[in-house]
């Protein structure tokens, strides 16, 4: 029996093409060895103003330009294309949801909103054309920032009073009453500023209308092939069956590519059909900044009641979420904040209420973590404040509030983002805490801090815990097909943006089916191969598609064994499949390979190749019965779906030691540690890579990255020069990682999601560490040296508060 691949660090199959420069990303589509021929390129006129009415659009000079094929504005759109883009995830609390039009109709609501769409011979000419379009505007006062949205001196949308898109309150028990009765009480105000996913590859779409067969083929850099397919079909008034969406290689998503349809995802196919040509849109980096999506901007107010041990009696959180100009993705982000804020704790009484507000800025859709970072930040800063107030160790206060290992499954009494109960399936938070304390050297730190202080140096330590609901439904599916060559072709409908799905899923198939890993080929995100799918987000791919693929492979195996048993005249229970060969256990001479079984599964009249001829040495079936039995199908396929009752809850803890420069306030990371529980690991090398990447993105989000809007709604840092993503030099040399595995009882492989974990506790852990180093509260993140310097100056002039929030731990 060969060793199982589950749990082994198998090298990635994707690398073979990526390393040779043979990936096929969306901008590569339509390019052959002789270059790109016959593909037309699109460019978009985008609003330079944050809020304005459009009085007139003059495109007269555009069509004169040589190389321009067509230009569209709103007036050229008809039928469903002229209606607003879909509001993908409605919610009863979203009483005032608004989505944009594919091209701005009467007004624009953020810098970057699409106004006109030009198609030309190449992108250079298309941009020239865009530059010739003349628009006259009537300026409207822009609303920028949560404070201004709340004050509502101006409105983003005339028919949305107070700029409030939604208000949602959830209660577990009676938090206000419990807080009033609690021995101690604290209030905190906590802020996180906007950031963004910023994958290295921006958005793009290519479409080709095949008039010979009346089919629209779309390639788009998306996280959901089926979502785009449905939207294109509806908007272009095509049958679903006439549209194919093929997800190419995608250069990172991190959430921003789950939103759909982008205006361009509709305009490109529309143009392709109208012009009878292949049309391509590839956004540039500035466009990505001003017309994709952002996330993270929230302001929180916490009231908490607790006792002498730090045990929470009641937690009351009010927060304000800035969702930008439109709400296509509904309330997912603030709902996740509301629910995941609880983390590994059981606060006894919990009240959370949020308002989701409009501003004249880019819209907000999930970014890795999707509201959890804000929730974790809020909860963890509260825990730190309680510890400081009581003069207790910050880990002791947390431990006292943990859900204990014997309390699972634990129902938090709320509804999660998937519409299901927020019930944690498994976890061991005390064990994780032991591990993270050991990994970071928590108990030794006070001594270290003192000795550094004696040398005039400031160091601080922070720790943060999180719980992440992963593997949300509704379902994913898989199709496993064993071809007569022995190759195993696997398809699942969700998509890939660097997670190594083709490798990880092949491991699962090889394990279950007994074929060799090298014979498995996995395709993701192609609606021609698997048209039933949801998408890649919420750390769900391994759980959802992994489980579905495992189940589908199981079905295929059942059929293999049934046919092979017949061919080998043995019982299925006596058979084993090793490296693609089925044999009788203990009798290796009696064997049949998977390819031959595949031939036998499909009783054709014609022998096409050697494989079919070779198969004739075996005889299967009963000559007295139909060649294809009544409940069966020809071929060697397995198809199955996995649809869980609820999400499965991964968890983890991060800790960091930082040093702050007394003169320049520069922040240096001395040590970063991660303890991580995502159940059973399919490929530990890939999971670790996800953690590294998440931690780096978290460091970026805590110390470097933010969206800098000015009061007129201009994004001041819409480039990589001024939006500061970390290079290797900004990331510590090592990240200490330890694992815990509490398997999930909810899926056959016991796995939990891993993709987002690295980034969830970053704001919390850095705020805590810097506060510990400085001795004054850090309540707004991200933080730069300049901001830290300003806080230092202010904390020197202002008197010390009587309710000491955030004084250093003893």
């Amino acid at each position: 029996m060969t060793t199982k691949l589950m749990g082994t660090p198998v090298q990635r199959v994707e690398d073979q093409r990526f390393l040779r420069g043979q990936g096929r990303y969306v901008d590569d589509i339509g390019v052959g060895p002789g270059g790109e021929q016959g593909v037309l390129h699109a460019a978009v006129l985008r609003s330079p103003h944050a809020h304005a009415r459009i009085l007139d659009i003059d495109v007269d000079e555009v069509l004169d330009l040589e190389g321009v094929h067509a230009v569209w504005t709103y007036d050229d759109l008809a039928g469903p294309m002229a209606e607003p883009l879909p509001l993908l995830i409605p919610h009863p609390a979203l009483t005032h949801g608004r989505t944009q039009y594919a091209l701005a109709k009467d007004e624009v609501n953020h810098v970057g909103e699409a106004i006109a769409f030009v198609v030309a011979d190449d992108r250079y000419v298309a941009e020239d054309a865009v530059g010739r379009i003349k628009v006259s505007y009537d300026f409207l006062p822009p609303v920028v920032g949560i404070d201004n949205a709340r004050a509502a001196a101006n409105l983003v949308h005339d028919d949305v009073p107070g700029n409030v898109g939604a208000r949602l309150e959830q209660n577990v028990g009676d938090a206000p009453a419990a807080i009033a009765k609690a021995p101690h009480r604290l209030e905190l105000d906590l802020t996180i500023e906007r950031s963004a996913c910023m994958p290295m590859e921006g958005r793009g779409t290519v479409a080709r209308w095949d008039a010979d067969i009346n089919r629209m083929q779309v390639w788009t850099s998306t996280q959901t092939s089926t979502g785009v397919r449905a939207a294109v079909a509806v908007k272009l008034e095509l049958d679903l069956g006439q549209v194919d969406v093929i997800t190419p290689d995608v250069g990172g998503g991190f959430g921003v590519k789950i939103n759909h349809p982008w205006p361009e995802e509709l305009l490109v196919p529309m143009a392709a059909r109208t012009l009878g040509r292949t049309v391509k849109f590839t956004e540039d980096r500035r466009e990505h900044f001003i017309s994709s999506a952002h996330e993270r901007g929230q302001v929180h107010h916490v009231t908490v009641g607790f006792d002498d041990d730090g045990r929470l009696h009641g937690l009351d959180v009010e927060f304000w979420h800035d969702h930008g100009a439109y709400t296509p993705y509904g309330l997912i982000v603030p709902i996740i904040t509301s629910t995941q804020l609880l983390g590994p704790y059981k606060p006894q009484n919990y009240r959370v209420v949020f308002e989701s507000l409009y501003t004249n800025t880019v819209m907000v859709t999930p970014y890795r973590g999707a509201g959890r970072p804000q929730g974790c930040y809020t909860m963890e800063r509260t825990m730190d404040a309680i510890a400081a107030y009581l003069g207790k160790d910050r880990t002791e206060v947390r431990a006292v509030n943990f859900i204990q290992p014997d309390e699972f499954p634990y129902d938090q009494g709320m509804i999660f983002q998937d519409g299901r109960e927020l019930e944690y399936d498994s976890g061991d938070y005390p064990a994780s805490l032991e591990k993270i304390k050991a990994l970071i050297g928590w108990d030794d730190f006070p001594t270290f801090q003192k000795s550094m202080a004696a040398a005039g140096r400031k160091v601080g330590i922070g720790l943060a815990c999180y719980v992440e609901g992963t593997g949300v439904g509704p379902y994913e599916g898989a199709h496993v097909h064993i071809e007569t060559s022995g190759k195993v072709k696997v398809a699942t409908g969700l998509t890939t943006q660097g997670q190594g799905h083709a490798t990880v899923f092949a491991q699962l198939v090889a394990d279950e089916l007994g074929c060799s890993f090298e014979d498995v080929e996995v395709v993701t995100g192609d609606t021609r191969r698997m048209p039933y799918a949801v998408g890649t987000f919420a750390s769900r791919a391994a759980v959802m598609s992994g489980s579905a693929i495992h189940l589908a492979a199981k079905r295929a195996k059942e059929k293999v064994l049934k046919i092979a048993a017949d061919a080998l005249e043995a019982s299925p229970d006596d058979l084993q499949i090793v490296d693609g060969v089925v044999s009788v256990k203990g009798s290796p001479g009696t064997s049949i390979d998977l390819g031959t079984v595949s031939v036998l599964s499909n009783p054709l009249r014609y022998a096409f190749d050697e494989a079919s001829k070779a198969a004739t040495q075996f005889s299967v079936g009963d000559p007295g019965k139909p060649p294809v039995p009544e409940d069966e199908e020809p071929g060697l396929e397995g198809k199955d779906f996995y649809s869980p009752e609820r999400a499965t809850f991964a968890s983890g803890m991060h800790a960091v030691i930082v040093e702050t420069d007394p003169l320049t306030a520069e922040i240096t990371i001395l040590k970063y540690a991660v303890v991580h529980d995502c159940g059973h690991l399919i490929n530990p090398m890939i999971v670790e890579g996800q953690i590294h990447g998440g931690v780096a993105q978290g460091i970026g989000g805590a110390l470097y990255e933010r969206m800098a809007y000015d009061e007129s709604g201009q994004l001041l840092n819409a480039s990589f020069m001024d939006f500061l993503m970390p290079y290797v030099t900004e990331i510590p040399d090592t990240i200490a990682i330890d694992h815990l595995e509490t398997p999930s009882p909810l899926n056959p492989l016991g796995i939990k999601g891993a993709g987002e974990a690295g980034v969830i506790p970053s704001a919390a852990v850095f705020a805590a560490a810097i506060e510990d180093a400085e001795g004054f509260p850090i309540t707004a993140m991200p933080i730069s040296p300049s901001e830290l310097f300003e806080l230092r100056s202010r904390s020197l002039v202002e008197p010390v508060e009587t309710t000491p929030e955030g004084t250093p731990a003893p």
Binding site: G23, E36, S719, T734
Partner: protein, 183 residues
Amino acid sequence: MTDELHDVRMTVNGVAHDVRVPARRLLSDALRHDLGLTGTHVGCEHGVCGACTVLVDGRPMRSCLMFAVSAVDAEITTVEGLTGADGSLGPVQQAFAECHGLQCGFCTPGFLTTITAGLRENPHPTHEECRDMIAGNLCRCTGYQNIVKAVERAAELVSTSSTTGEGAGSTTGAGSTSDGETA
């Protein structure tokens, strides 16, 4: 202003190509769309991310900050040129596969060319020098830990391999230290 076309002979990965392009055609676009070498990727078009890095006469340069017309008389190596003539992975590519130095693969070609030149200039880099070698390239997926490991592994593979080049088209070494040399 009309787009006058210029005849440009570009030598890429050892092969001469004649293209007719407007002066404003960026080298990155010419490589990708005129020559069909889509391995070089475009992440920002303002010279910061490094995904577009190619070797020009053996030295890493941002192809998004050059015009194709300027690339005349230059020998360019792209990621495709790092693969062996028989299709096998070169040492830097091999190291990345072993060390899981890539996830989505979009930034990877820029790292591969940069490191290839970096190791020619400094075949035995210290750990710090390995980090320094990749300090001008952005990656959003990997967090760099495994990329640094890949640089170290690549140095090992390069020094144990008996061949000098990494497949077709590799040219003169980068960055000699004598004075007054023209680029």
